[in-house]
Symmetry: C2
Subunit: 349 residues, 2 copies
């Protein structure tokens, strides 16, 4: 066996993701096979393993960020990636559960260019399939020796996930201006819970299963949470200024849906005249047409909303780097975690 320098052994992001998916897939398949067959089909559809009715898949599944974080967390602790597989299965099941239920709550009809589960199978069945995936995640962890610590990490992430989703739903009803408006600090709390908590849990669980000391588990959890925040803020920027041919989402989509995203909230907090004009526009009734959305995007930009969002993402990226540097980690895995970080936040913004 030839000794390869670390830098060469480090995979690219698509390679890392594909390697982790391949490692986790058999265990994830076995877990899903334990489900009621009807529920199992909805789960397989969500994972992109099949189309409705069990027909062969014609659409790709998710990238599998969370399962990759769990595998890399175990490897970062010096264990083989296999040690993180049960953790990876659990977080992937929880992630899919949350997508299924969030799509119902948000009324989203498509995901990854296919009908969402509630659109394809009905609301009731989608509620049930989410519940089943969640139960399976708990069952998966309860069956491992790392049980109690692992379940504490998972249940705390789950609590955060639900609270973050509750905050997000409630933000929609809040005014755009005045003392009741949504503050950036509230947004950060929401995004850390809704997006950061499970990413942090994935990396931390992987490390725990890899036998890492508590300090390393904690550092990887922090890294994952900041990664989630960076990712969410970048996603917000793309939701306004992203190229539809790259994002697969309509131009100015988040503005048309009047979502209270980071760039918008930052712009509304800015001192200049643009904040007031933006608030007046967002408060106006009626649907947002393309010209209106373009004007709002320009106002947000002029008020510094895009710059503030990119600076925010940069802060969280730096926090991820610091968390990874805080503790001793296996070099290749730590590098691959950095590669994933770049891949997730360095999209065309």
């Amino acid at each position: 066996m030839t000794v390869t320098p670390t830098a060469l052994r480090t995979g690219t992001a698509p390679q890392v993701l594909a390697r982790c998916r391949a490692l986790v897939r058999p265990a994830l398949t076995r877990a899903v096979e334990r489900l009621h067959p009807w529920v199992g089909e909805m789960a397989a559809y969500s994972f992109g393993w099949c189309e409705t009715g069990g027909a062969p898949a014609t659409h790709p599944g998710g990238k599998g960020i969370r399962q990759a974080l769990a595998v890399l967390g175990a490897e970062a602790a010096g264990a083989p990636g296999q040690a993180g597989v049960e953790a990876a299965v659990a977080v992937e099941l929880v992630h899919t559960f949350s997508l299924l239920h969030d799509d119902i709550m948000d009324g989203d009809a498509t995901r990854r260019r296919r009908p969402t589960v509630w659109k394809a199978y009905g609301t009731g069945p989608a509620v049930l399939a989410g519940d089943a995936l969640y139960a399976l995640a708990v069952e998966t962890l309860a069956a491992t020796p790392a049980g109690p610590d692992a379940l504490r990490l998972l249940s705390s992430a789950l609590g955060d996930l639900v609270s973050g989703q509750a905050d997000d739903l409630l933000f929609a009803a809040r005014p755009w201006a005045g003392p009741e408006r949504v503050r950036l600090e509230e947004y950060r709390t929401m995004a850390e819970r809704k997006t950061g908590a499970l990413l942090g849990c994935a990396a931390a669980l992987g490390a725990l299963f890899g036998g890492a000391p508590a300090e390393t588990v904690g550092a990887l959890e922090r890294a994952g949470r900041h990664l989630g925040l960076a990712f969410q803020v970048v996603d917000d920027v793309l939701g306004i200024w992203g190229d539809p041919s790259v994002t697969g989402k309509p131009a100015h989509g988040d503005l048309r849906e009047r979502k209270k995203t980071f760039p918008v909230l930052a712009a509304l907090d800015a001192p200049g005249p643009e904040a007031g004009r933006l608030a007046a526009f967002l408060e106006s009734a009626g649907t947002v047409d393309e010209a209106g959305a373009r004007r709002a995007a320009a106002l947000i930009d002029e008020a510094g909303g895009r710059t503030a969002a990119l600076a925010e993402a940069g802060d969280h990226i730096a926090s991820v780097e610091r968390a990874l540097a805080d503790v001793p980690l296996a070099a290749t895995a730590a590098n691959e975690l950095r590669v994933l970080l770049d891949h997730l936040v360095d999209r065309d913004v």
Copy 2:
């Protein structure tokens, strides 16, 4: 302190239920207070602690059978009831989660003479509140020393709950006659999962937290499962022949909704001519009027469906008795478990 003979210390069912509710309430309140405030209000509404908007409660909550089983399970193991409180909190949270989600799936608009949570707060919020209660249940158990075993019991009950609900939803689409019809054995599996699993889990968890040996935990789980089956079959009888002024449900409600309940399935399996006439009636399109429902109820009775259901309930009651007699249990708690059993199945059937 005077020594009171066991028989005198045994409470009546309403006394036992009230005592257990009072014992569990502080811990349940503390758990619910950890929820996001909005989600917490939906939880409090479900428990009958308040009306919508947090107004003082004007409707009673549930009886709290599951929490009582957990407390009595601990006491049956010779521990003080307090030892079963965390188990009681967890099963009560899971039960409420399942009511919230099942009401969405079944499209039920009222429960305990009030609008269901999805009717009062919206479908999305009700999905979220259910998820939050479930996460809180897992968190509650993960924080206890009995963690891993307890979570294995809970997650296996959860898996059963979801599978039972899936079976029940799928039964609705199956034909009334022919090889594809629902068999009694399938019904038993469904009802054991949907109703029995959590009752069994409640009693078993209580015993586990009370320090009972595995054999006792297993016996109490079996007792709870058979209790659930007996309860469900009695509920089915009341759903057809129950007095609306007592049940609070419309006369012949289950027939009007064409539910595939035990007495109906037993009648359809009977050899006489009534089975065919009943199947033809149930297969006919259109709404079921009062005269039609009365005719169907008579056919089911003539085909022996009511008798078969009552015999089935009797079998499960005997199985509960056998399970309780199988292992050494503290006398008062064992008696109170029997009192509860009578209370649950000895309704006017």
